[in-house]
């Protein structure tokens, strides 16, 4: 039974450390995700060539690549527990909220690593004009927070179903669509010199709403 202590920040921190360590041991998830992100980026780049004069298209393509990368990798932390049959053990030592929060932090870290590789590569390969860094990074950070939060919750659900990988993309898409729509619109605006304040506020509000809903729902994820 989860005790009061097991949902403390210490438990969340322990889960995060455990995730990082087991990921680092094999690096299977990270390698696969990076390879996937670079592959989708390359296919986009080959298909349309350099598009330095079309920042509106670039903004859409950037977020399509990031969305694909997220959809390919973020259910991994939960699926791994189910496939390795380690979920029951994990639940003995920590509360559902602590487990899910730890995994959420891990996923956000994971997404950040992928973006550190993908975004600079994207800007170089596509011949993108220099972004205005403040708004651009703001959109990336807030967009990734919302993307990661939504994908983590759906990943936890999907890990307990049949046909996990196939379902994950389709089922998380409706949740992530507002993020992508707002992020694309903001990325487009910063390239054309417009204001991104409204979109940033929208992304932040959506991220906070998803996070609040997630924290309320994590308790209901596992109960059998």
């Amino acid at each position: 039974m989860p005790t009061e202590a097991s949902s403390s920040p210490a438990a969340v921190w322990a889960i995060l450390r455990k995730e990082c360590r087991s990921e680092w041991r094999t690096r299977y998830g990270l390698n696969a995700a990076l390879l996937f992100a670079v592959t989708s980026l390359t296919s986009v780049s080959f298909a349309v060539g350099r598009l330095g004069d079309r920042p509106d298209v670039l903004a859409a393509l950037l977020w399509v690549v990031l969305l694909f990368a997220a959809l390919a990798s973020l259910s991994h932390t939960f699926v791994r527990e189910v496939e390795g049959r380690t979920m029951t053990l994990l639940r003995l030592v920590a509360s559902p909220t602590a487990i899910a929060t730890g995994k959420l932090l891990f996923n956000l870290l994971f997404l950040a690593v992928i973006e550190l590789v993908t975004v600079p590569l994207f800007l170089i390969l596509m011949g993108a004009p220099t972004p205005s860094w403040g708004p651009f990074l703001g959109v990336l950070v807030l967009g990734s927070l919302a993307l990661g939060t939504g994908a983590t919750l759906v990943g936890a659900i999907i890990a307990q179903t049949r046909g996990r990988a196939a379902l994950f993309a389709g089922v998380s898409f409706p949740i992530l669509l507002p993020v992508v729509a707002a992020a694309v619109s903001a990325t487009r605006a910063q390239w054309s010199g417009g204001s991104v304040a409204v979109e940033l506020r929208l992304l932040a509000a959506y991220g906070v709403a998803l996070l609040a809903a997630s924290l309320m729902l994590y308790d209901h994820l596992w109960e059998d």
Binding site: G150, L153, V154, I157, I158, Q160, T161, R162, G163, L167, G170, V171, F173, P174, I175, L177, P178, A181, A182, S185, V198, E199, L202, A205, Y206, A209, L210, A213, S214, L217, H220, L221, E223, D224
Partner: protein, 215 residues
Amino acid sequence: MILRGLLLLWIAAWIVAAFLWAPLVPVLGPTTRVLYFHIPSAWVTVLALGWSMVHSVLYLRSRNLEHDHQAAAAAEIGLLFCVAATISGSLWAKAMWGAYWNWDPRETSIFFLLLVYGAYLALRSAIDQPERRARLSAVYSAIAFVSVPFLVFVVPRIYFTLHPDPLINTRGKIDMDPRIRVVFFALLAGFTALFFWVQSVRVRVARLERRAEER
């Protein structure tokens, strides 16, 4: 039994009235009549989604499978009405705007609702154990509940709409013939009653299915 017959008569009578009694609006011409079927379908789509989500949250609070039956039934029926609203809207768009599909904000939001319904039902079909299916699909429904209003705010910021204002068209209302209004609200009530009737039948079937499984 009597109520069901009355509902049938009610809807049939107002469909006839929609074609023979209600006048046409000048600009819209014969496409005026889509109003009587498209908007009630769209309304039932939203109503069913709300009904499904409320019962999902109630399930998480009470763990009573009855709420899961309600949520699942409303999602199935809502999907049907969502398809009806999408197709009737698309046909109207072809007649008025010249293209079946244009990613107008209204088209985007109805398509989004289709995706939510589809994802919810796909998720349900992938879980065998009833309690787990109920619990996980309720969690999903609750998180989708957060995303639906956001899309409604985001999309109009990106595109402009050509869609006539739904329901509350304050300027249009004044010129609107009262006969149109009568037929419209009669069919709106008829569609709503139709939803609740089919819903009650579907829930009864789900209850029987569960009882048969338990035996």
